[in-house]
């Protein structure tokens, strides 16, 4: 072991200079390197977004607190929301898709490698543009300079009259630029999956992660484009004096809401479908069983891809739509629960009777199942229009969507991190630290987001800078803030584990999990060309067929 790591160090020392390494990473078109760049970029912004969340939680720890100014608080929740959705969750999803898809479908790269690099750099510069607003977005004296209009930036708050300086310009341009990056990646993912599969891998034999990313990419094409269109309109309003969302000239503020949420709700599914994909890869391997109900899983995913396009106005029940509008969007919202519920039963069916191995990836996936179910249940509560009238824009809503995005999406992505870390780095992570991360994060997550529902039910609105004592919100806010600190510690352990294991971890070998998909058939980390010989597959679990020639899967599929 030690001699081997010494040999590796020696190779590193004799390898090209720092400048050469930097150039090779900046100019790379290799899907694996771009995937890792996406993931590192997202981790950086995860820390930044986490710091913003911590600042908000310190401010709300006690009533009448003066830790930050009201203006600063508005900037924090705007930047936190925008960062976490567009520059953490999306790049993480795209990073995993980039890294894994060609490996899982037996291809040597994405369909359009240069478009892939362009998409990454557009996303990266979008993120830099957003944060450049702290320097360049001069506003009113004392009013600060980062965007402070909220992550959905309702009109007319974004008009020149109410949003002086350039902070909102940075916000809209940043989302426009990164939106082009997202569309480029989606084009690439669809073309890769449809045109680059290895011989034998029909659509019905693809790993479910590929299926879910196919549906996700389709949704990005259809749903992120409206955001791009809306941002173009907002740019025209702000730079050229157009009147799209200018109520003074007859424009409509509600139109912006529709355009934003036509993007905004499918966006949740754009983030959660790849998380479903990660679940569908990890759960079978750690239950030692093939996935239960593969065709139903695919059908449910495609169904979500369509139904979730028709639910957006459930974010707008309090705007004052007609009774028909409210009923339509309440019913479609309930209908999404059906394919989603099917998926939960499929994962349970996979675990049922399996020899479950609770390694860290599986722990995160198990927690995902429970937490995603809870998030779905509060989602159904909020989808009922009358209940929504009571609780819209309260902390109940904040707790609900953090339950989805942290409790489900982030948990699945953590699971994915631990599961594919050996493939990406060639070394095993530290299991003890991984389990510590899991249990601390579960504790912190539930402290924060379980108890956040309660001040919402008690009437605490979201986005308030501080609150009066004596409303029964104090104790709950203290618990919520303590949970945030625990989560922060857990994340530090996670990052520490990654850094430590990258250099000191045990060598992983090709296939540390005894898994079944193609990425485990090649060395870890994979060579630049991925597959020396393009494989041919005959079933959904090609490596099972190789390991068990006496009982191959293709006899049953």
């Amino acid at each position: 072991m030690s001699s081997e790591s010494m040999a590796l160090t020696a190779v590193r020392e004799s390898s090209p200079s720092f400048g050469d390494v930097l150039t090779s990473w900046v100019t790379t078109v290799d899907h694996k390197r771009l995937g890792i760049l996406y993931i590192l970029f997202a981790l950086l912004f995860l820390v930044i977004g986490g710091i913003e969340a911590t600042i908000m939680r310190i401010q709300l720890l006690v009533p009448r607190n003066h830790f930050v100014s009201p203006q600063m608080f508005n900037q924090m929740f705007t930047m936190h929301g925008t960062t976490m959705i567009f520059f953490v969750a999306m790049p993480l999803v795209f990073g995993f898709a980039n890294y894994l898809l060609p490996l899982m479908i037996g291809a040597r790269d994405m369909a359009f490698p240069r478009l892939n690099a362009l998409s990454f750099w557009l996303t990266a510069f979008g993120g830099l543009l957003l944060y450049f607003s702290f320097i360049g977005g001069n506003g009113l004296y004392g009013a600060g300079n980062a965007p402070d209009v909220g992550w959905f930036a309702y009109a007319p708050l974004t008009s020149r009259a109410f949003s002086l300086g350039h902070s909102t310009d940075f916000w809209t341009l940043s989302l426009l630029v990164s939106g082009f990056g997202s569309i480029g990646t989606a084009v690439n993912v669809v073309a890769t999956i449809l045109s680059m599969r290895c011989p034998g891998m029909t659509l019905g034999k693809m790993p479910l992660l590929a299926w879910l990313n196919l549906v996700t990419a389709w949704m990005v094409l259809i749903a992120v484009s409206p955001l791009t269109a809306a941002q173009i309109m907002l740019c025209l309003d702000r730079f050229l004096g157009a009147h799209f969302f200018d109520t003074q000239a007859g424009g409509s503020a509600v139109l912006w809401m529709h355009f934003f949420w036509i993007f905004g709700h499918p966006e949740v599914y754009i983030l959660v479908l790849p998380a479903f994909g990660i679940m569908s890869e990890i759960v079978p391997v750690f239950s030692r069983k093939p996935i239960f109900g593969y065709p139903v899983m695919v059908g449910a995913s495609v169904a979500i891809g369509f139904v979730s396009m028709t639910v957006w106005a459930h974010h707008m029940f309090t705007v004052g739509m007609s009774a028909y509008g409210n009923s339509f969007f309440a019913i479609t919202t309930m209908i999404v629960a059906i394919p989603t519920g099917i998926k939960i039963f499929n994962w349970l069916g996979t675990m049922w009777g399996g020899k479950i191995i609770f390694k860290t990836p599986m722990l995160f996936c198990t927690a995902f199942l429970f937490q995603f179910l809870c998030a779905g249940l509060t989602g159904i509560m909020l989808g009922a229009a009358p209940f929504n009238w009571q609780l819209n824009n309260s902390y109940f809503v904040v707790a609900h969507f953090h339950y989805v995005i942290v409790g489900a999406i982030l948990f699945a992505i953590f699971g994915g991190f631990y599961y594919w870390f050996p493939k990406m780095t060639g070394r095993m992570y530290n299991e003890t630290l991984g389990k510590l991360h899991f249990w601390l994060f579960v504790l912190g997550f539930h402290l924060t987001f379980d108890f956040m529902h309660i001040p919402g039910l008690l009437g605490m609105p979201r986005r308030i800078y501080t609150y009066e004592p004596g409303r029964g919100w104090e104790g709950w806010n203290v618990i919520v803030s303590i949970g945030a600190v625990v989560q922060g510690i857990a994340i530090l352990i996670f990052v520490g584990n990654l850094l430590y294991s990258m250099f000191e971890g045990k060598l992983a070998g090709n296939d540390p999990w005894d898994a079944w998909t193609l990425e485990w058939s090649i060395p870890s980390p994979p060579p630049e060309y991925n597959f020396a010989k393009i494989p041919t597959v005959f079933s959904r679990r090609p490596l099972w067929d190789v390991k068990h020639p006496e009982d191959p899967d293709w006899e049953y599929e």
Binding site: A186, A191, G200, A229, A242, G250
Partner: protein, 198 residues
Amino acid sequence: MSSTTIRPGSFETAWILPYKGHVGMWCLIAAESSIFTIFVVAYIYYIGKSLSGPTPREVLEIPIFATVCLLSSSLTIHAAVSALRKMKIMAFRLWWFITLALGAIFLIGTGREWHHLIYDKALTISTNLFGTTYYSLVGLHAFHVTIGLLGLTTILVLALRNLVRQEHIKNVDTFAMYWHFVDGVWVVVFTVVYIVGR
């Protein structure tokens, strides 16, 4: 191990997947359609909601000649691709040049229309909601025509330097898909702006 990959009835037939350029272009067209849909919805939603003049009926004239030029350019680009498929390089260049010329005529037509509206009718993007939605929707389309003209010119220059050969048929065909899409969008924009909106 290798014996495991032998399976009755396996790949005697060739393993053929769709061309990635076509798939990518279809995806781009889906995304672009989505963008245009939002602009068209905004246009239709704001018909008749301007608080001040001028109104579409007062100032808009139906651009029949430009429309005929743009729509016939779909036919000529199709003829160009067919010619390339049959290895008639000269015919390809000729049809391709005609396509480029027709597209350029359309864009000049849009430019003249805008000049007329701005200088004679005092309609700009900030005049009223009609100006806002008209210039953005027609402008978005004109932007796509401009991109198309750049692509057409690039391929024409390559063709004149004898660099477009039969093996590039798929690439040229993929670009033609984009041009057909730009023409198709004009049918929608024309209907909404000059027929429904007037």
